[in-house]
């Protein structure tokens, strides 16, 4: 090796022009978005006094109506339970039909696009639509979570199916089994722990979502939250927020324990 080569190798290669251009574009993007999002940090300083007053309105939290809040929180959890269970039931066939190693392309692709659509639209949007369709109340929330979660779980379920070991399935096939029997005996036992784990994750996140879909009238604690915020009852708002945080943490811990059981 010649000495000139050595000298060149002592330093890292020069950053290419394309890379520099990418950094430039990233900076420009940030500046442009700053403008569009009307970011004005000076307000945080100028109105600091107002904000302190506002914040002090939250404390001490007012738990006078706690029975009502807890009751609505339970409804929220119930919305999440049914929204998730219905989604799991629907995601099993859709997840299988979206898997490369199960369904032919002419089934797989339409199913995948349908699931993409369900996933792309937020629960809140579905909630607003279902409030119009089935009226105000928790059922609209259940349907909203059901539809969106089906899209999410079907994708996760199908990815789990695509990662299975094909050999046990072939072992079942060699006994003269029907394709449905191959799935029930060869595929599902392999993916079940992962499916349960995904379903529990979605249940946790659905408890969070369920407390928000209430804001558009789809039942539960969200409805309460929306009304007291609009009425400037900040001490009550604080109490409700504490109850939501406590419930969500509790469910996170419980479902983490449950998940361990299955793996």
């Amino acid at each position: 090796m010649t000495t000139t080569d050595d000298a060149r190798l002592l330093h890292p290669p020069r950053t290419s022009l394309t890379k520099l251009a990418v950094y430039g574009i990233a900076l420009a993007l940030l500046a442009w978005s700053w403008h569009g999002a009307e970011i004005r940090p000076e307000i945080l300083v100028k109105d600091a006094g107002n904000m302190a007053t506002f914040l002090s309105d939250f404390f001490p939290p007012n738990f006078r109506d706690w029975r009502f809040y807890v009751q609505e929180m339970l409804i929220t959890v119930q919305i999440a339970i049914w929204g998730t269970v219905l989604a799991v039931v629907a995601a099993v066939p859709f997840g299988l039909l979206a898997a490369e190693n199960i369904a032919p392309v002419w089934v797989r692709q339409p199913v995948r696009r349908l699931m993409d659509a369900l996933r792309a639209i937020n629960e809140m949007v579905f909630a607003m639509l279902f409030v119009v369709a089935v009226g105000l109340g928790p059922f609209a929330g259940v349907l909203a979570l059901f539809v969106h979660t089906t899209g999410v779980l079907a994708k996760l379920f199908s990815e789990a199916v695509e990662a299975i070991d094909p050999r046990p399935v072939e072992g079942i096939r060699a006994t003269g089994a029907n394709p449905l029997e191959e799935i029930v005996y060869g595929v599902i036992p392999q993916v079940l722990p992962l499916w349960i784990s995904y379903a529990l994750y979605r249940f946790e996140s659905n408890v969070r979502s369920a407390s928000v879909v209430g804001m558009v009238g789809a039942g539960g604690i969200g409805v309460v939250l929306w009304e007291i915020i609009r009425g400037f009852y900040f001490a009550e708002t604080c109490a409700v927020m504490i109850i939501i945080v406590a419930t969500v943490s509790l469910i996170d811990v419980a479902s983490a324990q449950l998940r361990k059981l299955f793996i």
């Binding site: 046990p168 072939e170 072992g171 003269g176």
Partner: protein
């Protein structure tokens, strides 16, 4: 023993079967007949087409378009690269034993063995897992026969390799298979387990009259357990005759430098086979 089938009809008939994988010849116009009740070894170096041939016999792989056919138990499995429409019925009469056992690891051994009856059980019962006491009895008897009845409710993945392979054989017993195709069933096993598995297969062959075709890496096992050997090289049959005639010199003649790969399996271990009463392998629990 009780070969109930008419002896004029071969249990397995392969005619002019060829298979090309991406321009590479895996099977080269293979033709052979195997009579009911035979126990045949299929030998050859790795890549010689043993597994490919067995998979074609069970209709798990398809031959080249336009040539060749496979018939098992008098029924068409495939011809000219097309699978027969009633393949599932034929497969239910043919047991397949895989090198990697192909059990469902998370299911109990009992459930794995019960899947052998899927070809007979109506769909609504199999999908809901409602096996009758009679079917469970059959599965337990099969597990008892291969010597692992005490492991019935253990997860298959918790078993040793040899036990898993015996569970896989029990699955073919529940199938009431008339033909067992075993694809390198002992290639992943230690010598003791290998012997047990081969003894089990040989016993099923002699006691039930089941036709057994077993692919092996090691000629010693072929000579020991199978009266007839079919040797493959580069996808073609290069020897088909009595196993006893497979002398080291003939093997060298057939395989040249590859012969070593086939001969070293049970080197210096002739005593271990002869010293074992044939029933012991089935009775012993590991």
């Amino acid at each position: 023993m009780n070969a109930a089938m008419p002896t004029d009809k071969p249990a397995i008939r392969v005619s002019k079967l060829s298979k090309t994988f991406k321009g590479c010849k895996a099977l080269e116009t293979v033709s052979l007949d195997i009579a009911p009740g035979e126990m045949v070894a299929l030998i050859g170096a790795s890549g010689s087409g043993k597994s490919t041939l067995l998979r074609h016999l069970a209709g798990l792989a398809l031959g080249d378009d336009g040539t060749g056919s496979v018939d098992v138990l008098g029924t068409r499995v495939q011809s000219r690269g097309q699978l027969a429409s009633d393949i599932r019925r034929t497969r239910s009469r043919v047991g397949f034993v895989f090198q990697q056992f192909n059990l469902v690891g998370r299911l109990p051994v009992m459930t794995n063995v019960l899947t052998g009856s899927l070809g007979r059980v109506p769909l609504w019962r199999s999908l809901t897992g409602r096996f009758t006491t009679e079917e469970r009895r059959l599965a337990l008897d099969a597990l008892d026969r291969v010597g692992i009845a005490d492991k019935s409710w253990t997860r298959a993945s918790a078993l040793s390799g040899g036990q898993q392979q015996r569970a896989a054989i029990a699955r073919t017993l529940v199938q009431k298979a008339e033909v067992i195709l075993a694809d390198e069933p002992i290639a992943s096993l230690d010598p003791v387990s290998s012997r047990r598995v081969m003894e089990t297969l040989a016993r099923i062959n002699t006691e039930d009259g089941v036709t057994v075709v077993v692919s092996l890496h090691q000629v010693d096992f072929a000579i020991r357990y199978c009266p007839r050997t079919i040797a493959l090289k580069k996808g073609a049959v290069i020897y088909d005759g009595p196993s006893a005639a497979l002398t080291p010199s003939l093997l060298r003649e057939l395989y040249g430098s590859q012969a070593e790969e086939l001969g070293t399996g049970v080197q210096g271990s002739a005593s271990f086979v002869t010293g074992l009463p044939s029933g012991l392998a089935l009775a012993a629990n590991a």
